[in-house]
Point group: C2
Chain length 347, copies 2
């Protein structure tokens, strides 16, 4: 179902999921395209970013982002084109990053927009990935909290995912030994051969803990956490003294519905924090590092210019495919940064 200029298709949260989301938790609606008021612009979505954190917003349990209300449009970062403008800062045809969510059209007063200029216009979807929140998350979490030093061992979960693939590549640029963990042989081969990780381990293998130990002969200095669960359990015993664990996500737990059964591993984790003097720190990129976006953008633009990065996009066409794609991403079915091309081939 392609985008047309008379109708605003939008996907709303129909009900809150219990455990893994299903398509029944989403509803596709159609409305008239809204009309911009004074000072407002009308945005047309071209690219829609799907990210694991959105699972948290579908629940009303405490999370690090406020919940989406039932019947409200699903939130998300987008790359959009200004269609009409009553705002002197924006002209029709401008490309912007916005938070307009899972819909074709949206209004904005311009305050939450970031106008795209310069080289990123050659590849506007990068403003959601390599040069956007994804890259920013990898960059700040790894460098500011992880503080990797040349020769140290950095382990990256979800190694071929949007954030993980960048974490590993930045760590390589910093002279680290980088071990990825990913789901399946194909992804592992990709991490080693294309992304340039030193090793990549399949988390589906039976002997995850043992294999990881073989790959990390000098222990682990930095573990970039976005997964939790059994990957974390394999990593913890290998952490070195003074190791750092930036916590950016816990996708393995997002769909859990009850407390995990015993034994209680918490005392063991606390004991490791004490014995090994670990630093474990959660972060939310926009809230903790919003003021450092320029620093990231300038450094990353330079690296991109120098073609130092591989950034794989997993593109799915059509807004109506967003729910299925999102559900699959939470199960690890994606391969790279997940994007919905809302506007088709001809924006």
């Amino acid at each position: 179902m392609p985008q047309d200029k008379q109708t605003n298709r939008r996907i709303v949260l129909a009900s809150r999921p219990h455990g893994a989301p299903t398509e029944a938790n989403f509803r596709l609606e159609s409305q008239h395209v809204p009309v911009p008021g004074e000072g407002e612009v009308l945005l047309r979505t071209v690219w829609l970013s799907l990210d694991p954190y959105m699972r948290g917003r579908m629940s009303d349990a405490p999370s690090y982002v406020p919940p989406i209300a039932v019947n409200d449009v699903m939130g998300a970062g987008t790359v959009a084109v200004v269609e009409q403008s009553n705002n002197q800062d924006y002209a029709p045809g401008d490309w912007v990053v916005s938070q307009s969510g899972w819909q074709d059209f949206a209004l904005s007063d311009g305050k939450d927009l970031f106008k795209l200029t310069g080289p990123v216009l050659k590849h506007p979807s990068w403003a959601l990935g390599l040069l956007g929140m994804t890259g920013f998350t990898a960059y700040m979490g790894l460098l500011d909290i992880g503080n990797p030093q040349p020769g140290e061992t950095v382990v990256v979960a979800a190694a071929t995912g949007a954030v993980g693939s960048m974490v590993g590549q930045i760590a390589k640029l910093k002279g680290c030994y980088v071990v990825g963990i990913a789901g399946g042989e194909e992804k592992c081969r990709y991490a080693e051969e294309v992304l340039g990780f030193d090793r990549c381990l399949d988390h589906r293998s039976d002997d995850l803990a043992e294999s990881l130990k073989r790959y990390c002969r000098d222990g682990i200095d930095v573990y970039f956490e976005s997964v939790g669960g059994k990957v974390f359990n394999a990593v913890l015993p290998l952490m070195n003294t003074k190791g750092r664990i930036p916590v950016c996500g816990l996708i393995a737990d997002y769909n859990s519905t009850e407390a995990a059964s015993g034994p209680d591993m918490l005392p063991q984790f606390q004991s490791a924090i004490l014995r090994k003097r670990l630093r474990v720190q959660g972060f939310i990129i926009t809230q903790d590092y919003g003021h450092r976006f320029e620093e990231f953008f300038s450094q990353m633009s330079q690296w991109v210019e120098q073609e130092r990065f591989v950034f794989r996009e997993d593109v799915v066409d059509g807004l109506d495919n967003a729910p299925e794609t999102f559900i699959g991403m939470l199960e690890g079915n994606n391969f790279g940064k997940v994007l919905i091309r809302v506007a088709g081939d001809n924006p």
Copy 2:
């Protein structure tokens, strides 16, 4: 049994404890007083410091300090007097802080000694407490990792213990609202009335979590962790966004012999770290902050001079009472900094 100058009484690790240590894990031996070789000094122990971390050294499980070998003398910080010296840096009668352990006499080449000079000589045991490792641990853990700001809420476990009592007082000096947690009414009253904490809560009360919530109406910004277990479980839900948890000890777990039964609280802790963007960091004072001892000593000496601190010592006479006193300390029977006065009243 008093100290005499012909015999070196020493308490060795007779066997490794399984769970809580018992007196059978220790053995009192007598030897001749050793004779200092070239460059060595003979030390006579006056004060012996007992600290919870020593429990870790009695086991051979991985810990943050190397295990004591069976039949070796129990390790500990001491305040000692130089009896004989073949070392030009030390003269008989000098007072030093040493790591000579649970015994009357020991040899040293001088490299591990810290000579006491100036006002601390008026109260040499303070070199093990207020102005020693105890104070240094409280100071660095609270200020460097906890980074408390005026008006923030600081919660301190083991509030009347050696480290805890100082953490709370430093936090008060920094303008914080300070809530202690201690065992029993008497200790709680002492924390509020003598140490000047804003509130102190009995961890034996049935409704720990609820009471703590009442006392911390604005949540918790800094939790100084030295306990673990149920106190931690009560604290975690109250931690504020961007809260800090310096981890200095986990006394509640030191004697545990097996993994705690379920449910597994680890995912909940990880989720809190992520959602609340907590910083959780273990530290070992000498290893992480040894280079900043002067800074601590100078600031703390000034505060002591200004009589800004109350520091309670829980003194037990006689080296032979060290095992029983140590065992009791792990159960929370002490009230303040635990010291064995090895040399009696007349050093």
